[in-house]
Symmetry: C2
């Protein structure tokens, strides 16, 4: 496990290219006739649904891979536009609620384009019989999170479904924000030589949800890291507008985000496993539960690909921001093994960090 | 019932003001501790939820009464931004599907600001076990509806909930579109003297859903009127940019829309009941079922408040458009009884057309 208090080492030694010549893509994705939980997990099954069902049906020039925020032109302005539905269970958990997630999740998707979310929409699907007080507490959490993030909830809708056809409260948010001039942040821009930075310790959100859902205790209460990252991104852009890629590793965790970037840009990613910051309590919980922290969801962290020459300054700026205090360089982008993420283990070995099939924990956001 | 083939009579005789001096607002809304189906019905209970729960929690300058599209400024452009969730059951019905509704519903909300929807987001909440083929058919319907409406589905998200926590497929869409220069269409702009026009026969969508849901037959199959109204609105704006109010009478029907406009603008509305176009098969079905067509949902109709001097030209332009062929003048806006909608019956009497409490039929969109 990494010591996250250790000083950052920006210079990542160039690794000898590992030999993956015999490696092939995972077996062709299953031809499932029915939706399974994994289709909502942000991994390979989700990607299959987008590739084979949604993308052909919706095909249009702006469709930027469903799940990312789209980059649009409207009235001469460049905008990021994104949506997320939230079905997390329980509705309230250590460190946040479905209301916080619903605001921060969409704010963060937009921030990953370098944009500051300006307006959110909010759609509730309420289950008949849910307490109005619970709805009010969720709405208050959304309002507070929106004020913290500096975004305005501008429009909304409420539907009610019969008891037994929902789970208390589902929330959808969509959001729009302006992309600043000179900023072009998207997965396709990762290039060999880029330094990979994570903004802090990973795995807290997923483990926090699991611990309260299953009534597990791990000695200390693990809080969700749920937070809005627009301010942290602004701090990074103040150092350089040439940030190549930003991604918030939610469903599927850091592993899914890095795999998506590697695939989109046609580059390889090499991680130094022992530099990936994992809080001891998350590592302990994962060890007990048989989870890999690399695959556990976060909601207040980002992973950045920045040019090597800018990495030190960007890292310093991140560390000076409250939401980036635990930022660390965890690896680099390479020409070898395009589309593949490889971790160098503490013992000097290497392992492939695959795209997960589904999510280890469903209903996590 | 009105003969919708009769030539339109634009000149509405100014009625003698009815005496409603003894009339009071409906009893204070119930202090319900739990969500009931009516909270999603677009009537008084929905309004109560917005007023007492969402508006105080979210309060911000752009919050334009949740349920309307919001009018925003972003990057120097004036935009309409709106969202709707769709929980209709069954997923497929005569004349459309949840996919058509999800596109047209949000496109129409935006059109009611005079804007042409440019981009949509799309959030699916799928229930574990639903057939992938059904998901694909819904996605295809959305793609086709989007192409017809000239809008692009630009970004999306999919979540999966366990079997028993959903109802096959729920869809949320949010959309944005530019408001043309010189156009300012909102409920508050209704003024005494405005002529009230409906774009065609009402009640088809709600009755179509009900007939297939309950296995009822009324001699002829009643098809949903589900359609995108952006083109019809453009046709109207080509006549005059000074359209005062547009509204698509969905949940709660024409009655809810007119009440909301009357309340927002502080004006009275007088309808000529026998001029409201109701198709004979809808009237028959409503008579059998004890429904009032004024309260039944539509999804391809609009109601417009236009200055008297422009009404004739606007009506002619609407009638020349395929989606406005059945357009009719149904009443006018008056100074008397502000906030109240009154219908003059065929027999010469008057009745108050109240804001419904909930919706006569749940899960209609």
């Amino acid at each position: 496990m990494a010591d996250i208090t250790a000083p950052a080492q920006v210079s990542v030694p160039a690794p000898a290219a590992p030999d993956f010549s015999g490696w092939t893509c995972p077996a062709p994705l299953r031809d499932l006739p029915r939706i399974v939980m994994g289709h909502g997990g942000g991994g390979a099954l989700s990607a299959e649904l987008v590739e084979h069902v949604f993308a052909p049906a919706f095909a249009g020039p702006a469709l930027s891979g469903l799940g990312d925020s789209a980059h649009l032109e409207l009235g001469g302005a460049r905008m990021a536009f994104s949506t997320d539905s939230f079905v997390v269970r329980p509705l309230f958990f250590p460190g946040g609620s479905i209301g916080d997630l619903a605001v921060n999740g969409t704010v963060n998707d937009i921030a990953m384009s370098g944009a500051r979310a300006a307006y959110l929409s909010c759609g509730f699907i309420l289950e008949e019989g849910v307490s109005v007080e619970v709805v009010a507490r969720v709405a208050e959490a959304m309002g507070a999170a929106a004020r913290t993030a500096g975004v305005e909830i501008a429009t909304g809708d409420t539907k009610v479904v019969e008891s037994g056809h929902g789970d208390g409260i589902y929330v959808n948010t969509a959001g729009i924000g302006l992309i600043p001039d000179g900023v072009d942040i998207r997965p396709q821009r990762a290039v060999p030589g880029d330094v990979v930075i994570v903004s802090g310790p990973i795995g807290q959100h997923g483990v926090a949800i699991l611990s309260v859902r299953e009534g597990l205790e791990f000695g200390v209460e693990i809080q969700s890291d749920c937070a809005a990252l627009g301010g942290l991104v602004q701090t990074m852009l103040d150092v350089t507008r040439d940030v190549h890629v930003l991604r918030d590793p939610t469903r599927g965790g850091l592993a899914a985000s890095l795999n998506e970037i590697a695939a989109a840009a046609g580059v390889g990613v090499v991680l130094q496993e022992n530099r990936v910051p994992v809080p001891p309590e998350v590592a302990n919980a994962c060890a007990i539960l048989g989870l890999d922290p690399m695959y556990v969801a976060n909601e207040g962290k980002l992973v950045a690909f920045v040019p090597r020459g800018e990495a030190e300054a960007v890292l310093a700026a991140m560390r000076a921001h409250p939401l980036g205090a635990g930022a660390a360089v965890i690896g680099e982008c390479v020409e070898d093994h395009p589309g593949m993420v490889v971790a160098r283990t503490a013992l000097g070995g290497t392992r492939v960090v695959d795209l997960p099939l589904g999510e280890q924990l469903p209903r996590i956001c």
